[in-house]
Amino acid sequence: MLPSPISRVNSSASQQPNPLSIRLYKVLAANFDDDATKAAVQTLAELYGPPGHGASKAKGKQVQRDSGGDHEELDEEDGDDKANGTVGTTRDGDKTAVSSVIETIPGEIAAKARRGLRRDVENKLAESSRRFLAAFSEVDKQLDTLQEHVGAMRTRCDEAQSQLRETNDSCRSLLDRAGSLREQRQEVSTRQSIVTAFLERFTLTSEEIEAIVSREVPVNKRFFKAMDKAERIRDDCRVLMAGEDGPTKAGVDIITKTSGYLEQAYEKIFRWCSFEFRQMGRDSSVDVHPSLREAVRRLRQRSELLTEALTTLGQTRQSTLLSSFTTALTRGGPSGLPRPIELHAHDPLRYIGDMLAWVHQAIAAEREFLEGLFGVRAEEDGRMVGAVRQFTQSEEEEWMSELMDVAVGGLCTPLKTRVQQTIRSQESSITSYKITNLLQFYMLTMQRTIGEKAALSRVLQDTTDFAYSVFYEAIGVQGRSLSAVTLDTDDTSLTPPLVILDHAQVLREILLVYESSLGDDIAFYNKNRTTERNQEQDARRREAAAEGCHSILDKMVDPAVEMCIVASETKQRLVPNWDREVFVVNVMTYLQSVLEPFAFTAEKQGFIQSLVEGRMMQLIEDHYTNVIADTGLGEIVEAWKSRKANEPLSHLPAASGTRLQAALHSFSLWLTGNTIDHPPRLAQLLVQSLATRVHRAALARLVHTYRWICDEVRKPENKYEAASTLLGSERPFGQVHLLWQIFGIDEESQESKEQEKLTF
C-alpha cells in the first residue's frame, strides 16, 4: 500500500522541502527532552559526528536524505518505534555508547556538526529556493501573459459596460413604453371582452342568422333558439334605450337589424307552417310534430300571418275531409272494405247513421289534431267527447272551434242534401220518426261536442227540424185520412175496425221509438231510483217526455177517437140495432191499451178514460134498464112511478097484489137463470173488467130497486095485503142482504159506492 520507492523519489523531487526545514527548525527550536528528539539528535550526531563515524555518517546522510525526502518515512519510523517498544532500551544502551565518545575540544564536534548540518540545510534550502525561483519565474511568465489577457479583457469589459450603460439608458425608455403598452393592451383586451360580450348579447352569430334566414335550415330547435335570441336582443335593447341616455345609434341599429331578422323568422315560420298545413291536408295525419306546435305558438305574435296560415289549414282540412267523406260514401275502405256508405242508401237509418257516425269520428280526430296543434291537453288524453264540454273561451279554443267549423263545414252540404233526400223519400212515418230521432241524437251529440253555433250543429238542427216537420206532416196526413173513413155497415162486429188497428200499430211503434230515444235517462233513472234527487229528476224528465210527445199523441190519438165517434154515429143511423156504445167503448179501450205501457202518455190515457167513463154511465144505465125489464120488476116500477099523489100503490092496476106476485115470481126465476152471470150484451165488451163493472153496477141498482120495492110493499099506506107473506113467497124473500149474497156483491162497499150514483 505504500507508494513504490521510485514514485516516492519522483514525487519528492517535485515536492517542496519546506516541511522538512520547518520541522527541522521546529526541532532545533524545541527543547529536546523528549525521546524522539533525543533520538533524532542522536542520529544527527552520528551523521555529523567525528570521523570514525564516517560509515555511520554516510549512512546517516543517506538516511537523512531519505527521511528528508519523505516525512512519511519518519512516521513509519515512529510507527516502528511504537511497534517495537523494546527498541528504546537498546537505544538507551546506544546513548550511553554515544556519550562515551570523547571530545577533543569541548563542543567542537557539536559545532562542527552544527556547521555541517547548517550547510547541508542551507544548501538544501538554496537548492529548493532556486528550484522555486525557476518554477516561479515560469509561473510569473505565465502570470504576465495572464495579466495581459486580463488587461485586454478589462478593456473589453469596460467597453461592454459602457455599451451596456448606453443600452440600459436607451432600454429604460423602451421599457417604459412597453409598460404603458402592456397597460394599454390590458385595457384593450378588457374592452374587447366587453365588446365580445356585448356582441354576443346583442348580435346574432352568422350561424344563428343562417338558421333564421336560410331556407336550407329547417324550422327546428336551432331555428327557434336563434329566434329566441333575436327576441331577447330586441327586448334588451328596448329596455336599454328606455333608460336615461335615450336611444343610441348603435341601439337603434341593433333593434332595426334584429327586428328585421325576426320578421324574416316569422315569415319563415309562416311559410313553413303553410307548407306543412298543405301537406297535412293530403295525408290526414293526426299527430302534430312538436316543431309545428311551437311554430304555431310563436306565430301567434303575428296574428295576421297566423290567420293566413290557419286559413290555409282550414281550407286544406276542409277539402281533405270532404274528399275522405266522398270516398267513404262512394268507394268505401281499402279494396272496398268497409263497403261504401251509399251502398246502404236503401236502408235509410243505416245510411244516415253511417254518415253521421263517420262525421262524428272525423270530428273527434280533427279535435285531437287541433288539440295537438295548439298544445291544448287540459285533461290529458282521457277526455270523453260525450261529456259536456266546458267551452272555455281561450284564444286556442276559439281558433280550434273556428278551424273545426271550417274543416267540418265542408261536409254540411253533402250531408244535408243526402239526409233531406232520404227523409223526403220515406213513406213510413215510423221510419220517418226513427230518422228524426237519430238526427236529434246526433244534433245533441254535436252540440255537446262542437257547440251549438258550429255550422254542423246548425245543419243538424235544420235537418232535425225538417225531419220533424216531415214526420208530423206524415202523421197529420194519416190522422186526417181517418176522418174520411166510414164503417162497413155489413160488419156487425163491435171490435175496433182494421183502420184503427193499423193506426194503433203505427202509434205503438212510434211510441216505442219515442220511449227508447228519450229514454236516455229514464231507463237509467228507473233502475237507479234510490236518491231523492234522482226521483226528482225522474219526475222532471217524465214531464219533459210527456211534453215532447204531446203533439204526436194529439195528431195520432185524437183523429182516431173522433173517427170512432163520428163514424159510429153514422153507422148507427144506418144500422139501428148495431150496438154503438159497446163499439165505442171497445175502440177507446183498445186505444187506451196501446197507450198504457207508456207512462208518458198518462194524460192522453186520462182523456180517453173520461170519454170511456161517459160511455160507461150510459152503458150502466142501459144495462140496468135491460136487466130490470128482464127481471119482470120493471112493470111494477113503471106502474108505481105513474101513481098519483098518495094513492096506495096496490090500487094501481099494473101493481096490484097479483101483478106484484107475478113480478116477484118472474124475478125469482130470473135470479136462477143464466143471464144473471153472463149478460149477452156485455159479453161484446172487449175489456172484461168493464163488462163486470157495468153488470155489477146494474145489479147493485137492481138491489136498491128491490129494497125500495120491499119498503114500499111493507108500507101500510100502500095497502098490500099480507105484505110480508107476499114478499116472503118468492126469492129473495124480501131480504135485501140475501140478494146481495146472490149477486156476490159486498153489501157495504157497494152501498156506499153506488149510493150517490143511483137516481130514481
Partner: protein, 220 residues
C-alpha cells in the same frame, strides 16, 4: 289506431276504458248514451301509438247508432262480465256484428271483466278461453275495479294490428283501415327502421321485407 269497445250493457266497458285512460275506477258509472270518444297514446317497443277509443253503449236501443261506429275500426275490445252468464252467451252476436261491419282484418280481444268478483263468477275462464279459440279472438280476464290486466287487451290488440301491418295484411296508408300514421316524421323513421311500414305501403312487395317485432317482452 281506431278501437271500438263493445259488449252487453253493464259489463263494464266504460269502466274498463276509464281505467285505461285515467288509471282510476269510474265510480257511479251510468249507461253510456250512444258512443263516447277518448284517446290514449301507448308505447309499444319504440313506437308511440295513439289509440282512438270509441266506447259504445251496450243497451239494445242504441244498437242502431253504435253499429255505425264499427266501420273502419282496426281493433275491437269485446267485453263480457264474468259474473253474468247472459253477457257471455250474447258474445257471438256481438262478434258477428263486429266482423260484418268492421274492417275485414279487425283484431278482436275478448275481455272477461270484473275478475275481482271471483265469488260471483258465472263464466269459467276455461270456457271463455275455449270460445275465444274457436272464434279466433284473443282472450283475457281483467278488472276495471282493481285495474288488473286492464292495459293488456289494448296492447295486445295494438301488437296484433302491427303484426298484421307487417305481414302485409293491413295497409295503414289507406283510408278506412282504422290505422293511420299520424306523423309523417314518424313514418320516415319507420321506413328506415326494422319495423318498416313505409316499405310495405310503398309497393306490393308482400313478403319481400322480412320484419320481426323486437321481442314479445317489449309489450304486453
Amino acid at each position: 289506431m281506431k278501437y271500438i269497445i263493445i259488449g252487453e250493457a253493464g259489463t263494464g266497458k266504460s269502466c274498463l276504458l276509464h281505467q285505461f285512460t285515467h288509471n282510476a275506477f269510474k265510480e257511479h258509472s251510468q249507461h253510456t248514451i250512444g258512443v263516447e270518444f277518448s284517446s290514449r297514446t301507448v308505447k309499444l317497443g319504440e313506437k308511440r301509438i295513439k289509440l282512438q277509443l270509441w266506447d259504445t253503449a251496450g243497451q239494445e236501443r242504441f244498437r242502431s247508432v253504435t253499429r255505425s261506429y264499427y266501420r273502419g275500426a282496426a281493433g275491437a275490445i269485446l267485453v263480457y262480465d264474468i259474473t253474468s252468464r247472459a253477457s257471455f252467451l250474447n258474445l257471438s252476436r256481438w262478434l258477428a256484428d263486429a266482423r260484418a261491419l268492421g274492417s275485414p282484418q279487425l283484431v278482436t280481444v275478448l275481455v272477461g271483466n270484473k275478475s275481482d268478483r271471483e265469488d260471483d263468477r258465472e263464466v269459467e275462464w276455461a270456457e271463455a278461453s275455449r270460445w275465444a279459440a274457436e272464434n279466433d279472438v284473443h282472450f283475457l280476464e281483467a278488472s276495471s275495479l282493481t285495474g288488473d290486466n286492464v292495459e293488456a287487451p289494448f296492447l295486445l290488440c295494438a301488437r296484433s294490428i302491427l303484426l298484421a301491418i307487417e305481414s302485409g295484411a293491413l295497409d295503414p296508408e289507406k283510408a278506412g283501415s282504422g290505422v293511420s300514421y299520424g306523423d309523417r316524421a314518424l313514418r320516415r323513421v319507420n321506413s328506415s327502421s326494422r319495423l318498416s311500414f313505409g316499405s310495405l305501403s310503398g309497393g306490393r312487395r308482400k313478403g319481400a321485407v322480412k320484419l320481426h317485432l323486437p321481442g314479445g317482452s317489449k309489450c304486453c
